[in-house]
């Protein structure tokens, strides 16, 4: 109970605080007047990377900061009370090239060097649902990732890697369900109980339409397939993240920080709405929704973006969608440093860029992190470059001390003000998209795509006019540059994959393949959940493209709106 003395003391403290604030306001006005007209540097316009106007200083007048603890709703300061004291983030390097054997060797190399999770990069044919021996795959097999055309390749990919012990993330979207089924079938072959599978399938088709463009089916059947995955996973693979709602590709395609934040959250809300519309309990699937953010070079803007993302997600899930389980409200996410920020010029400088970006990801409270290799703007990374990237995370975790305190920048006036600003900007974009009727009509109208292309062009102009400095590109240029060693994936991978496919097609039970594919088509036509039938296809060694094609005969293909 408050005694009269306590109350007097409290009132006195408030009066003092008010007087101090009033005094600060007066001094700030004088400070600003004194700075007006003072010479400032000409090599920058003092806007953030995303073009946000920045004040020269932030004070207690700009942001009070939440009186919130880490681990408390709405999780601005992080989803765990002590953050990295309990457990460091997962160091998860995205990797894949050549055949399944080539990539299996790279995974073992990374695991032996202290990496704690795997992340599969698929080649373009796989990302688009084509087999390695399909005519459309020519020249692209194993080039940008690993070629996985059937369960047989998935078995090879994880040969000697126990799938109940290593968590695996798979960056796959259009054919996410197919690759997920190959993975589940491979785990069955290893004898791993499905309930113990840990990992993530990206499965975020909306951002494919918005930015990344590895789509197959039209929007509605694509969304149906994703909800099928939610439903099946909730029952059979409860520790598996059935989606990773991704801002990464939206940002890489040119979006600003606020656009990345808002567009990605909008996609997340859309998946939640589709799950609820299917009749699923929001708390049954929302805990398995995870996110994936790009961490770009503007240090504070990126940290603020991650903090705002958690806060917005928690609020909307609770207030709009009625989630009550804390696990539904806590946004878990992976981060990757910004590939688009790497320069081909003076590539060793990229190590410094990646290190700063990685620190922003950790100060923003990420659950897992990929650090880009210095040579990734030139080719897929060499082992040396990958090792430096992984070591960058280990130095961050074990030498800098930033992992010892939860949300160490919380309460910074600048950071808190930026967090509030980004939240407000995202809410403004939500309102704009709501006026267009939501995410799907905005995609079909090409609105997101156009907004992103305009931001990309604006940034290019800023670099070319010099209002944004990129070291080694438009400033501090070297006349002569020493070439660095890069990884070349030769055509041998494509030949090897064709041979593997020929052997597979000759050795499997062709009648069973035909029967399982027909059953899959039947499930799609009858609008049932297609995952059980697809898993049966995977087990019978139906190929990726056979499954893609079977569903395409029912659902058709997506046609993009073209503009620039």
């Amino acid at each position: 109970m408050t005694t009269p003395t306590d109350r007097d003391e409290l009132l006195e403290r408030l009066r003092t605080r008010e007087a101090e604030i009033a005094d600060l306001r007066t001094r700030l006005a004088a400070w600003e007047a004194a700075q007006a007209g003072q010479p400032v540097r000409r090599d920058t316009d003092f806007t953030s990377l995303s073009g946000r106007e920045l004040a020269p200083v932030y004070t207690a007048l700009d942001a009070a900061g939440p009186l919130e603890l880490p681990g408390e709703y709405p999780y601005t300061r992080g989803i765990h009370p002590t953050m990295y004291r309990g457990r460091l983030w997962t160091m998860r390097q995205f990797a894949g090239f050549g055949t399944a054997e080539d990539t299996n060797r790279r995974y073992k190399f990374l695991l032996e060097r202290g990496q704690t999770g795997l992340s599969v990069a698929f080649d373009f044919p796989t990302l688009m649902g084509y087999d390695g021996d399909h005519p459309r795959s020519e020249g692209e097999v194993g080039k940008c990732g690993v070629a996985i055309s059937s369960l047989a390749d998935m078995e090879t990919l994880f040969d000697g890697i126990p799938l109940d012990q290593v968590s695996v993330s798979m960056t796959i979207n259009g054919p996410a369900a197919m690759l997920f089924c190959f993975f589940v079938a491979a785990a069955e072959k290893q004898g791993v109980p499905l309930a113990r599978l840990q990992g993530t399938v990206q499965n975020d088709i909306l951002k494919e339409f918005v930015a990344q463009h590895a789509w197959i089916y039209p929007v509605e059947p694509s969304l149906k397939l994703i909800v099928d995955m939610f439903e099946w996973s909730a029952e059979h693979t409860p520790k598996w993240n059935s989606i990773s709602i991704s801002g990464y590709h939206i940002r890489e395609a040119g979006a600003t920080a606020a656009q990345e934040l808002a567009f990605t959250l909008l996609n997340g809300f859309t998946y939640v709405e589709r799950g609820i519309a299917r009749g699923l309990d929001v708390d049954a699937f929302a805990p398995r929704l995870s996110f994936f953010w790009d961490v770009h070079s503007d240090f504070f803007e990126e940290i603020a973006k991650l903090r705002a993302a958690r806060r917005i997600w928690a609020r909307h899930l609770r207030e709009r969608y009625g989630a009550t389980d804390d696990r539904s409200l806590k946004m878990r996410f992976h981060c990757q440093t910004a590939g688009v920020s790497l320069t081909a010029q003076q590539p060793l400088n990229n190590v410094a860029r990646v290190a700063y970006q990685a620190m922003a990801a950790v100060l923003g409270g990420t659950q897992s992190l990929h650090t880009n290799a210095l040579d990734e703007t030139l080719a897929l990374p060499t082992e040396t470059a990958v090792r430096v990237a992984l070591r960058t995370q280990q130095i961050l975790a074990h030498e800098t001390g930033v992992a010892s305190v939860a949300d160490p920048l919380g309460g910074s006036w600048y950071l808190e003000a930026l967090t509030d600003r980004l939240e407000a900007e995202a809410e403004a974009i939500f309102a704009q998209v709501a006026e267009m009727g939501g995410v799907v009509p905005a995609i079909e109208a090409g609105w997101f795509q156009r907004e992103i292309a305009q931001s990309a062009s604006r940034f290019q102009v800023e670099v070319e006019t010099g209002s944004k400095t990129v070291v080694g590109v438009n400033a501090f240029v070297e006349d002569r540059e020493e070439p660095i060693e890069i990884l070349k994936v030769d055509e041998a991978a494509e030949r090897a994959q064709r041979e593997r496919m020929a052997r597979l097609r000759a050795s499997r039970d062709a009648d069973l393949v035909a029967e399982r594919l027909a059953a899959l088509g039947e499930a799609a036509r009858e609008d049932r959940n297609v995952i059980p039938a697809m898993l049966d296809c995977a087990r019978a060694y139906c190929t990726l493209h056979e499954i893609r094609h079977e569903l395409e005969t029912v659902w058709g293909a997506y046609r993009e709106p073209v503009f620039f």
């Binding site: 373009f124 062009s457 290019q460 073209v562």
Partner: protein
């Protein structure tokens, strides 16, 4: 010393087809380049994604373009550039300049140049360089 007179300027805009061959979905560069060439006064057609070499060559001929620019970030450049070049030649359009850019190692750029492909541009190239290259080519190769 004799100085050659500058050829007469082209009386019409240069027509460019910007194309994304193969399965690669990275179109940021293609769209930025298309917008920059348009802003430089060229007539620009963008194909959209996931085009086959046949689709690109056919579009180039039907649209009667002067220049085809391919954007390739997938590593498939050694297959796709020569294929599009061969198709354009077969269709009687050896006169069309085939250029482009993407993630292409220097030695591959040199190898492609030896096979009749125009200059290729890597990451970090100012768009002004592409505009200047195409305009320079047009001054000497296109009839006014």
């Amino acid at each position: 010393m004799m100085v050659a007179a500058d050829p007469a300027p082209l009386s019409r805009p240069i027509r460019v087809l910007v194309a994304k061959p193969g399965l690669d979905g990275h179109d940021r560069g293609a769209k930025v380049v298309a917008a920059a060439l348009r802003d430089a006064g060229m007539e620009v057609i963008y194909t959209g994604l996931h085009q086959t070499p046949e689709m690109i060559a056919t579009a180039a001929v039907q649209e009667d373009v002067d220049v085809v620019g391919l954007s390739i970030l997938s590593g498939a450049h050694m297959t796709l550039f020569p294929r599009v070049r061969a198709l354009l030649d077969e269709m009687g359009r050896a006169d069309i300049l085939l250029t482009g850019g993407g993630i292409i190692p220097d030695e591959d750029m040199a190898a492609l140049a030896a096979r009749g492909i125009g200059t290729l541009f890597g990451p970090g190239t100012p768009t002004g360089d592409l505009v200047a290259y195409i305009q320079g080519w047009a001054r000497t190769s296109l009839r006014p």
